[in-house]
Symmetry: C2
Subunit: 374 residues, 2 copies
Amino acid sequence: MQSFIPPDVLLLGPGPSPVPPNVLAALARPTIGHLDPRFVGMMDELKDLLRYAFETDNALTLPVSAPGSAGMETAFVNLVEPGDTVVVCRNGVFGGRMRENVVRAGANAVVVDDAFGTPVDPNKVEAALKANPGAKALAFVHAETSTGVESDAEELCRLAREYGALAIVDAVTSLGGIPVRVDAWGADAVYSGSQKCLSAPPGLSPVTFSERAVEVIKSRRTPVQSWFLDLGLVMGYWQGGAARAYHHTAPINMLYALHEALLGLKEEGLEAAFARHRANHERLRDGLAAIGLDLLVAENVRLPQLNAVRVPEGVDEAAVRRRLLQDFSIEIGAGLGELAGRIWRIGLMGAGSTPQNVDRVVGALGECLGRKVA
Amino acid sequence: MQSFIPPDVLLLGPGPSPVPPNVLAALARPTIGHLDPRFVGMMDELKDLLRYAFETDNALTLPVSAPGSAGMETAFVNLVEPGDTVVVCRNGVFGGRMRENVVRAGANAVVVDDAFGTPVDPNKVEAALKANPGAKALAFVHAETSTGVESDAEELCRLAREYGALAIVDAVTSLGGIPVRVDAWGADAVYSGSQKCLSAPPGLSPVTFSERAVEVIKSRRTPVQSWFLDLGLVMGYWQGGAARAYHHTAPINMLYALHEALLGLKEEGLEAAFARHRANHERLRDGLAAIGLDLLVAENVRLPQLNAVRVPEGVDEAAVRRRLLQDFSIEIGAGLGELAGRIWRIGLMGAGSTPQNVDRVVGALGECLGRKVA
């Protein structure tokens, strides 16, 4: 057995996305102690950078020491108690995962279904909230990674507040790619991942909780079922000040990388990053059209960072992905769940969203399909 | 705000330990996809390397995508169900954390207490197992990071089997530093951390489960309360073969680093690594004695990799640690729990266990205390 030298692959799938050299360099800086005052200073900066990305002033804003799935679980196990009712929107794979989390927390999940490839329907959500007075929370995925659809987070958060429910928002694929306006929307618990539009390696999950959510956590009747994800304990570590309490050993080097990646986002500016994602999406859409490929999702609800491309009749989609990887060193994603075999997923996320990458993937796809650009 | 450039600190606390340059270099290699066949090949090697470190043939051996605390939780939430009884040994902070995990899994914890600084007493454990027939598991910490004590894992695992209980073993600080003979002991669930004697950065938790444990997981009456840590799902991802199912996005770069660190351990050889930890511990013991410092723990149960040093009367222990960090760039640890203020913890773990590091910390401590080596 030898050292593992990974191949150089252009990551244009649903994540991870390409990690820029300066972020990889930050990752490799010397490990220091998680209680070292210099590390603690970096943590404070990191929280501020996350507040910038989330457009929030929430005090409880931090990176959970595990991937986005753990960020999702952090939201549910801290806010939901046995016997609660949660309205869960399911218009893709990750809505289904939210439902799993609700059930495993001992709560009752009222599922609002919409077809894969369409957004969450606010009318159905309002009907569900009306039919379930006292629902503890409304949970939905802002940017469905499995379909490439954006749902109207602002409207859904507004409905949650109107009906007295907490708004739990999955922003794994949206943060850094399209606006995630936590405070303006009045969202209560929002989680994301380090490896999509933030351009850090996978392994961390930024989360932010409103004051209202913190009050709900503080007034729980039952202990949080997870020790590792218990925000009452995690807060003591991340917000401890002089009384900082040891909870777990933070993933030091991964936090260096997230800090560096977020600095890059701040330097570019959120609005500029959103515009870049939008422009490269349009370039991709036009390039795909030129080789006769079209997108699954209606134009007004398409995510610029995650493009669901219809697989043409008679094409072996897995063979195309294999050839892209082997002959062109480009990774794109397959469909998930009921969209398996029917779509490819092309991610243009974070540092991966460039015109050069768009041209490279369109050219390679055209070659694989024997369709030259018109 | 600027890029974070960490200081160069010699990490001789209770973890993280120093990460060698080749492991940092592996960490910074280009991120690839978690479903890329080359990555999957690396995962298979990683499982084999972990089996080497754990001295096991267990099929279910993998790194959990989060720090050691999550490895602990993985063991408890998968093996324990509401209503079960678990005998938990508590002779330090981490035994107390095990108890928390048992309670949060809805089970009944029977605690066997021993004084901080002493090992788990097998006689008390046997009495507890006798008094609680049908106990589902016996849980103990092999190497207590909070005190520097080794407990007799072989004897405790033997007792568990004799009384029909699963043996759950915390090997966070032991793996790679002293023998962790999973198969020879008949241990059922063992978890560790990447950042102690394995010399990778913090953030991953290697775990291994016996066939017996896998049977228990497969025959659960209730779902695992954690979605993220549900081994039924994690196994589908790590052991999936052709049917590999997506679970979560693996922390790709951290896994490169763990692979590289374990290659180093295998190249040195387990027995050579144990002998090195032992020899440097003895050098430290002698060096400390020469400046009038002695160790908390009795000689026959001392961990070579984690040394609890008594703080002399009248010495401000925090001031000494601050000076070590500021003037000598050496980090050592404070006491935890009831040992706070009474001990320092000097870790000689993994790549940190060298004669040069021993001499450096002894010399610096001597200067701080105004005690020159005799």
